[in-house]
Structures are given as structure tokens and as C-alpha cells.
């Protein structure tokens, strides 16, 4: 009797477990399928977009009219951006396939530049036409390779989720798989980037602030580790008995550098100071400690930051932006020359509003870019620049400013602040040819959405 009951109870339990397991399995299947569908969509879209992009590139080569050209350039730009975004949706975080993405990015940059410029004034140069042809050929190669991979995926019913699991388990997916195909495409794209149009650095110096800094310091005297600690103490006005710990920076950075950790004399957490090994130029400083109280105003803090820079020989800096985040003040300073604000040389400062200590500094851009500039005389009068401004905009403040424009060139501009319908705008009008280099809507304060 007892046994019969036991059997009955256990049977029910077993059946219950079975039903439960089956339901769980169904749910997991459904999730896995929808996960897979997202990957499949991204992949097939990528193949489609690359095809389409090649068609449009071909069309642009054949057009002769300005307006059609603009249309197809804008179309290539749009599709290349979409394709770039598709790549980001594939589980490629574990495989280096970034050359293909770089290729797409280059196509997007190039076509954007060509699409927005007035080609009646500046027609396509021979070099650019050639570049367009190169892009077209490369798009053809990538596209047909990808079509091959796609055919494989379809005929062998390859699942991206499986590939993903293999990658996570760090087993090599092996030859002939979709990943392998895509990696081969990427190898090709690597070859593309060597003869590709890249940011042509008109000014003859590299795009990247760190590389420029490397050029700046290459002939300066070399500091050894002890001198670096000394230099860090000096920069932060610390007594000589403060302990420092030095690390060399890795060789991924274009210049040799040190990172020095200094003990805070007030017993708070350490300061980190990084500097170039040649010349001992401090690139950034950071102290991490909890800052809860607000005892000084943003204005006082900005004075402290300005004085800090002044004492360390940053000449003629002007405060251009200040923001308070609870008990922290962040500031942007730019040096001025001939009344022009030099935005590429900006310095970031961070001051704690509890005791007025400097807790952050970043001077890389200043150190890399600050130099004597010789063309700070505007050819246009301010009034002429104001004529270029939209009539609905009421201009309330003007400055001269050097900025880096969208092509990465330094230009002298009139920096104007104006208002229109409760919004404030910042405009940069080229001071030599009246071109509108940049217009920004200044962001207002951010409401707190989860107000208590």
C-alpha cells in the first residue's frame, strides 16, 4: 500500500519535472532563435548594403552632372554608415575584423566631404576621381567575397550563435567557416588601407595629439625616474619628503613617459601624475577622493585653477567654460594670442569645492599644439562676418578664435554667441572667407527625471 502511494507520488513528481523541463527548454529555444535572428539580420543586411554601396559607387563614377553626383555621393555615405553599423551588430568583438570597418569609415568620410562641398567651385580633382575608382574596385571585392560567405551560411545552415560559442570557448572556428571568410575579407581590407585616402594632414603634422606631442619633445633632455618624481612634486607644490612611486608607460604611446604616484601629504588618496620622459612635461594629473561638501564657490575654484596654471607658466590663459557637478568644478581654459582664443590648445582643470584643491588637470593638447601662430589677423571685419549670420539670430557676444575645423585644419574664426527662441547658439564664422565652419546649439541644463 505504502509502496503504491510512493510510486504514485514519485510518478507525479517525475511527470511534473518533465513538463517543467520541457517548458524551460521551449523558452530557451525561443530565446536562442530570436538571438540568432538578430545576428542573421545584421549579416544579411551587411551583404546587401555592401552590394548596394558598390552599385552607387559605380553610378557616381559614371555621372557627369553635379546634382546627380551629389545624390549618389550622399547615398554612398548613408549606406556605408549603415554597413558600418551592421558590422557592430555581429559577434565580432572576439575577432579582429576592424580593417573592414575602417575601410567603410574611410568611404563614409570621403563621400561625405565630396557630397557637402560646392563642386561648382571645387570640382573633383583627378586624385579624388582615382580614389573613387579605387573605392569602387575594393567595394566590388569585399562585396563578392561576402556574397560567397553568405551563400555558405545559407546552404550549410550556419548559426552565428554557434560561432559565437566557439569563439567564447576560444576554439579556432577553422577554415571554411563564416568567421574565417570574414577574416579573410579583413586581411584584404588591411591591404586597402595602405593605399587609401586618409586624413590628408595639410598642416604636415599628425592627426593625433599624442603623436604631435612626441614630435614636440623628441629633442628635449631625458629625465630619469628620480627626476620625474622630483618634477611631479614640483608641479603639485609638494614638499620633498613626499614618497613617490614611478612606472614607465608602455611602448604603445608614441613618446616615452612616466606615471608617478605621489602620497598626499594630507593623508588622502594618492595623486597620479603622468609626464613625458623627455622634458618632463606633465600631461595629466588626477586625485581620487570622495568630495561631498561644497565650501567654496565655482568662481573661487576657477580663480584657483587659473592661478595654478599661471604659476606653472601657462601664459595668458582665459576661462572659456565652467561647470559645477555637485561638489566638483570643471573648467576649460584656452591660451590667447592676439586676442584670439586658441581652442586646439585647451587645458582641462578640475577643482574640489570642499577645500579648493586641484584634483584634475589635462594639458596634453596644450603641450602638443601650443606654439606661435603667425596668421592671427582676420581678413574680414567683424561686421562682415555678422552679415553671414542668419537674420533670426541675435548675436550677443563675439570673440576671435582659432579652431580645428571639420577637415582637421586650423582656421581663424569669429566665435559668436547668439540667441533664437530661448536657445543659445555658438557659431564659428571663418574670419578670412566668411564660411560657416561650425554651429552648435548650446545644451541647457539636464532636468532630473527621477525627482523625488
Amino acid at each position: 500500500m505504502f509502496r503504491a502511494i510512493l510510486i504514485a507520488v514519485l510518478s507525479v513528481a517525475l511527470i511534473g519535472t518533465g513538463v517543467f523541463a520541457y517548458n524551460e527548454h521551449q523558452e530557451k529555444e525561443a530565446l536562442a532563435v530570436s538571438h540568432e535572428n538578430n545576428y542573421q539580420k545584421a549579416f544579411h543586411q551587411l551583404a546587401f548594403h555592401l552590394d548596394h554601396m558598390q552599385d552607387e559607387l559605380g553610378a557616381s563614377l559614371a555621372t557627369n552632372g553635379l546634382s546627380n553626383m551629389t545624390g549618389s555621393m550622399a547615398e554612398v555615405w548613408r549606406i556605408s554608415s549603415l554597413a558600418h553599423s551592421d558590422m557592430g551588430d555581429l559577434p565580432m568583438g572576439l575577432v579582429p575584423i576592424n580593417k573592414t570597418e575602417e575601410y567603410l569609415s574611410n568611404v563614409a568620410d570621403f563621400t561625405h566631404d565630396v557630397a557637402i562641398r560646392d563642386r561648382a567651385d571645387e570640382p573633383l580633382t583627378d586624385d579624388e576621381y582615382e580614389q573613387l575608382e579605387t573605392f569602387y574596385d575594393q567595394a566590388g571585392e569585399i562585396s563578392s567575397d561576402l556574397r560567397g560567405v553568405q551563400a555558405n551560411v545559407l546552404s550549410d545552415d550556419i548559426r552565428w550563435s554557434d560561432i559565437e560559442s566557439e569563439l567564447v570557448a576560444n576554439t579556432d572556428p577553422g577554415e571554411g567557416t563564416a568567421i574565417d571568410g570574414i577574416q579573410q575579407i579583413d586581411e584584404k581590407a588591411k591591404g586597402f588601407s595602405e593605399n587609401n585616402w586618409n586624413d590628408d594632414t595639410a598642416s604636415g603634422f599628425p592627426d593625433d595629439a599624442e603623436e604631435r606631442l612626441a614630435n614636440v619633445v623628441e629633442d628635449k633632455e631625458l629625465f630619469d625616474e628620480e627626476e620625474a618624481v622630483e618634477r611631479a612634486r614640483e608641479f603639485l607644490n609638494m614638499p620633498d619628503d613626499v614618497n613617490g612611486e614611478v612606472h614607465q608607460l608602455g611602448d604603445g604611446i608614441p613618446y616615452e613617459g612616466y606615471k608617478v604616484y605621489l602620497e598626499d601629504p594630507d593623508g588622502e588618496s594618492n595623486y597620479a601624475v603622468e609626464m613625458t620622459a623627455r622634458g618632463g612635461l606633465p600631461t595629466w594629473v588626477m586625485q581620487d577622493r570622495p568630495i561631498t561638501e561644497t565650501n567654496i564657490s565655482l568662481n573661487e575654484a576657477s580663480e584657483i585653477a587659473a592661478e595654478f596654471l599661471d604659476e606653472r607658466g601657462f601664459d595668458d590663459v582665459e576661462l572659456v567654460d565652467s561647470k559645477q557637478y555637485d561638489s566638483i568644478g570643471t573648467f576649460q581654459f584656452v591660451p590667447t594670442a592676439n586676442d584670439a582664443r586658441l581652442y586646439p590648445d585647451a587645458i582641462i582643470m578640475k577643482v574640489a569645492l570642499d577645500d579648493g584643491d586641484v584634483v584634475g588637470y589635462k594639458g596634453t593638447d596644450y603641450l602638443a599644439n601650443h606654439r606661435e601662430r603667425h596668421d592671427l589677423e582676420p581678413e574680414l571685419e567683424l561686421e562682415e562676418a555678422l552679415d553671414e549670420v542668419h537674420e533670426n539670430l541675435e548675436i550677443r557676444e563675439e570673440h576671435l578664435a582659432v579652431i580645428e575645423n571639420q577637415n582637421g585644419e586650423e582656421v581663424l574664426t569669429y566665435e559668436l554667441y547668439g540667441t533664437m527662441n530661448d536657445d543659445t547658439y555658438q557659431l564659428f564664422i571663418n574670419a578670412n572667407d566668411g564660411m560657416e565652419e561650425d554651429v552648435k546649439r548650446m545644451q541647457g541644463a539636464e532636468p532630473v527625471y527621477d525627482a523625488m
Partner: protein
């Protein structure tokens, strides 16, 4: 029933008026110089006072932004001071002479996220919306109705309401222990539709250019998931890697795409990104957005102990912070 309650409240108001309580000028400014970008009570007072005489028509949110800046400059011009957009002692004295500040009205409305304004020629009761109304959008500017003289307004130090007993616009409870001079909320003069330049008021904060507070939150989630237990410098570096990737042609162009790129970050893959980030993670993100980059331009980082992928070790190392190696 409701009618009698209203009647009672209206009587209270009239009584208060007759008793003629002096208008509460609120706490005067502290002695700091207030400049653009500042936040806090001084800014609330500044905005309210500027609004009182019509130099500021945006919502009073306690953040010294562009609209406040232009208001200050216009005021300085009108009162023949140096036009520099800084609010120093001279300007504060001038403001205290020319305007009034009903701190209770303003702070209470901020507290309860009400819509409110602070114009000098409009009775306070109609410059206030129901609780939470400040979260709605409502910017139109019909004329204020029947301006009344300021003196008719009962105000006074508000006794702090007991927890949970905050009065609600819709159902005011005529509590007998109400202090005289306290200003009860009433429907009486509540116009039905959105009225006079209802600004959208809430507490607010500064946000760096180009990022919303929610974007910062998503990045803080990612940083928290990836770099919990790392030193602060390491958190800033992780946030900086996300930003460096958005500028890198080899990666997607927005922080969200970079973060949610499949398999780009382990914390995203295993769901740790959905943990509640701490204040430190947020601060690290702000630092990185404001230009700090302890990774020195790295686009990758990995933990050499747990990294599984071979090729990551082939990348040029920038620096090591805590458990992470940053590389390009």
C-alpha cells in the same frame, strides 16, 4: 462639501491678507560670486529675482545656464553696471533692492516638482501648478490674470509638514492646527488650462555638451560592470576607452553602439551591466567625457589573467592600471 472647504480656505487667505504678514524675503544670497555653470540655492534665488522683474523667463532650476547668463547681462546693462555675466556683491545688492524673493514659494515648488513661476506682478497662488506638474511640458505665455498688489499675499515661514502629510492640490485638508500665515494650497484661483508662462520646472543639473544624463547613466553602468573594484583611475580609463572607440574608424560611432557591440565587453555579455552603478562610476564617466584619459588613447583593455583571446596580447601596451592592461 468641496465648496465649503474652498470657502474656508479662501477665508483663511483673506484673513491672512488682513493680518498683513510681511513678505518673506527669504535668505539673502551667500557672499560668493556666482558665475556661469554654478548650481545651487544661490542660483535659484538669482533666477527667481531676475524673473521677478522680467529678465528671465525660463524655468527656475538652480543651474546657471545660458538663459540665466543673458538675463544677468541684460540686468547689468539696464542698471549700468559692468556687463560681465558675473554676479558679485554689487549686483546682489542691486537685486535685493529691486526685487523680492519668496523663498518658501520657490523651494516648496522645487521640492514637489510643481510648475511654478515667480513674476512680481502676478499673485503667487496662480503661479503654481499641482504637484508633479513640473514634469509636463507647458510653455505658452498668455497674459497673467488680474495682477494684484504684492501686499495682499500671506506668506510666512512654513512649518515643515509632517512626513507623508504633504498637502495635495486636489484635496486640501483644512487642518485646524495650521499656523496662521501659512499659505494653503487651493484650487480657487487655479485656472483650468495651462497659464501664464508656465515653465517646466524641476531640479536640474549640468550635463557635458553632447551627452544627456541618460547617456552618462548607460556609460556608468558599463564602467561599473567592467571595472568594479578597480581604482578610480582605472574606471576613468575604461570610460575613456569607450569614448576613444567612438572616435576610432574601426569601431561604431556612438557610446551605446560601442557598449552593446556583441562580445565587446564581458560585463555586457554576462549582464553585469545591469547592476546599479555607484557614484564613483558616474564621476569617472564625467571625467572621461570632460577629457581625462588615463589610458592615453587606448582602444582596448584586458585583464591578462583572464583574457582568452590570443591576439589581444599582440597589441601595443599603453599602460597598466589595477588589474587591466590598456592597449591600442
Amino acid at each position: 462639501m468641496e465648496g465649503s472647504v474652498r470657502y474656508f480656505l479662501a477665508t483663511l487667505i483673506v484673513l491672512g491678507g488682513v493680518l498683513g504678514f510681511a513678505t518673506d524675503r527669504g535668505e539673502a544670497f551667500s557672499d560668493q560670486i556666482i558665475q556661469q555653470g554654478a548650481t545651487g540655492d544661490d542660483v535659484v534665488e538669482l533666477q527667481a529675482r531676475l524673473q521677478y522683474i522680467g529678465y528671465f523667463d525660463q524655468s527656475i532650476d538652480g543651474v546657471f545656464g545660458w538663459s540665466t547668463y543673458w538675463g544677468v547681462r541684460e540686468y547689468q546693462e539696464a542698471f549700468e553696471m559692468e556687463v560681465d555675466g558675473l554676479v558679485g556683491s554689487e549686483m546682489k545688492n542691486q537685486l535685493e533692492e529691486t526685487t523680492e524673493f519668496d523663498e518658501q514659494h520657490v523651494q516648496e515648488a522645487l521640492e514637489n516638482a510643481r510648475e511654478f513661476t515667480h513674476y512680481g506682478d502676478t499673485p503667487k497662488e496662480i503661479q503654481k501648478g499641482p504637484k508633479g506638474s513640473g514634469e509636463g511640458e507647458g510653455e505658452q505665455a498668455p497674459e497673467p490674470e488680474e495682477p494684484q498688489p504684492e501686499e495682499g499675499e500671506p506668506t510666512g515661514e512654513e512649518a515643515p509638514a509632517p512626513e507623508g502629510a504633504a498637502e495635495d492640490e486636489e484635496a486640501p485638508a483644512p487642518a485646524p492646527e495650521e499656523e496662521e500665515g501659512e499659505q494653503p494650497d487651493t484650487d480657487e484661483e487655479q485656472p483650468d488650462e495651462e497659464q501664464d508662462d508656465q515653465a517646466n520646472v524641476q531640479k536640474a543639473m549640468n550635463a557635458p555638451e553632447g551627452y544627456s544624463d541618460n547617456d552618462i547613466q548607460i556609460m556608468a553602468n558599463a564602467v561599473h560592470g567592467e571595472a568594479r573594484g578597480e581604482p578610480y583611475e582605472g574606471k576613468v580609463a575604461v570610460a575613456a576607452v569607450i569614448i576613444n572607440r567612438t572616435d576610432d574608424p574601426e569601431f561604431p560611432d556612438t557610446a551605446n553602439e560601442v557598449i552593446f557591440e556583441p562580445r565587446a565587453f564581458t560585463a555586457v555579455a554576462d549582464g553585469q551591466i545591469y547592476l546599479e552603478p555607484d557614484e564613483e562610476a558616474r564621476e569617472a564617466v564625467l571625467d572621461a567625457i570632460n577629457g581625462q584619459d588615463p589610458s592615453n588613447g587606448a582602444a582596448y583593455y584586458y585583464n591578462p589573467v583572464t583574457a582568452t583571446s590570443e591576439w589581444i596580447f599582440s597589441r601595443d601596451v599603453h599602460t597598466e592600471i589595477g588589474k587591466h592592461v590598456f592597449a591600442d
